[in-house]
Amino acid sequence: MTLPKCELTRREALGRIGATATAALVANNWVKMSQAADARPKAMIWDAHGHLGGARSPEESIARSLRYADRMGIDRVVVSMGMSFVYDPSPEELRRQNDEVLRAVRFAPDRVFGFVYVNPKHVKASLDEIDRCVRDGPMVGVKLWVAMRCNEANLDPIVRHAVELKAPILQHTYLKITGNLPGESTPADLVELARRHPDASFLCAHTGADWERGIRWIRGVKNVWADVCGSDPTAGMVEMAVRELGAERVVYGSDFPGRSFASQLAKVTSANLPETARRLILGENLRRLLLPILTAKGIRA
């Protein structure tokens, strides 16, 4: 793996952790242990869900996030949406935000996967953005957020185009007892969409956050994967997801930089699972989802 210019090498980063961490941390930390030369081979960790922000530029933002990724042993990250969160972006705003993600991808092309941000209220502009960023550009997936609930018919041409390009779709979902935003999808909405498009692959972002219900919603729909990111590190989440969906349908993501890698990784590293299941969740499932488009684009993975 080639490293982007500004980064510490992983060895340097870990050397520094070793020098400063307490004995307990070094001796017991799962991520650290997995890096030791003589221990099990290091699990490949790909993070399915990240954003930009908290910095002056996309480059600065992704550089900062990758520094933390190095400290946590994370190899690759998915990034979508720009430096500011806009619920209902105009076509111009979409282009601006996707340009920012393109800059992040260009900054560290070996480590950052871009997902193109689209808005189903602007179907034509969304299809154009998919062409610009995925078909003709380096991005490898589609991101949908809270502009419109994803069971709407406007989603259909977007999903069909993603399928043509072999791009998986990352759809935000939340089940808020405090009330969803008007255009905010639930896992139930995503299940409707996924049933209409059995040939598409959907990542159910946050698994609805109220994951005990979210997991049940998606249980019977095999082209929906649980992205466990972006909720409190509540014990038992990943165990339930594996029990109900199978380890092949559970994907690690964090929702960085708003969430920490630490809290979200802990959901997986602490779960009582066979090592093979843990590896699937930490990276192999996402790699499998992305492999068709990566191969088509000649991206090494």
Binding site: T22, Y68, G258, S260
Partner: protein, 256 residues
């Protein structure tokens, strides 16, 4: 060496957890190098027989704690004769502190009864653990919707109580910006890291709160213990900072 100031025994009311049996919890903590854990009880959230809750907590720490569990009894000042519960925590069970859940017990910090609890705790030299939240308000059970504790009055209430020691649990994530700095400016308030979020969260907390007032808390078993542990790895901390947060600050606070 790790002191975890934020663990709970017994059962979370809404779900079984991988470590909700004390021997399992203790095994998990010891596996990760925890040498002391300050334990409250989930029963303290909703049970009305708080005296029974605290008696079981004390007994369980003694019987199953393998020497690492230190009980912090729950006090619900909305119950009749709550001062007797406080007396028992201190005199009968020799607890070093108490744990408060204003949002589960139905009072606010600005209510006079909270000041009464603080005054009595200060008199007796008891540490007060104030729990700002247990879980995310957005995903709570429809019949158990409990708002976060409004921490804004805290500064005024602890100022001047020089012998009082307050440990804010699960509050460091909810407090942001100026509010977090204001709490950090109170020399007798400590904060744990259990609910911190954002990349490098511990490092950013140290920009708002003096190192001596930050303590390691996991909110285990409701949260995965490893979340707090990995946060300590994620932020780039010096050996001195790590040691202070992992154990030195809590030890000094406990005075033993």
């Amino acid at each position: 060496m790790i002191v975890d100031v934020n663990v709970s025994l017994s059962r979370w009311p809404l779900r079984r957890l991988p470590c909700d049996e004390t021997p399992r919890l203790v095994a998990k903590l010891k596996e990760h190098g925890v040498t002391q854990a300050w334990a409250g009880s989930f029963d303290g959230l909703l049970h009305r027989d708080i005296a029974g809750v605290n008696a079981r907590l004390a007994e369980e720490c003694r019987r199953d704690g393998e020497g690492i569990l230190i009980p912090f009894g729950s006090i619900n000042p909305m119950l009749p004769d709550w001062t007797e519960d406080l007396r028992r925590c201190h005199e009968d069970w020799h607890m070093p502190g108490i744990r408060l859940h204003p949002n589960y017990h139905g009072y606010e910090l600005k209510d006079p009864v909270f000041s009464e609890v603080l005054a009595l705790a200060e008199q007796r030299g008891l540490i007060v653990q104030l729990v700002a939240r247990m879980d995310d308000v957005r995903v709570q059970h429809p019949l158990l919707r409990v708002p976060d504790v409004d921490l804004r009055p805290l500064g005024e209430l602890v100022a001047g109580r020089t012998k009082l020691r307050v440990v804010l649990l699960n509050g460091s994530g909810a407090l942001r910006g100026e509010q977090r700095k204001r709490v950090g400016a109170l020399p007798n308030v400590w904060m744990d890291i259990a609910t911190l979020e954002g990349l490098g969260g511990v490092g950013s907390l140290l920009e708002d709160v003096p190192l001596a007032q930050v303590v390691f808390g996991s909110h285990c078993p409701l949260f995965n213990f490893e979340s707090a542990l990995l946060k300590m790895q994620e932020s780039e901390l010096s050996a001195q900072q790590s040691a202070a947060i992992f154990h030195e600050n809590a030890r000094r606070l406990l005075g033993r």
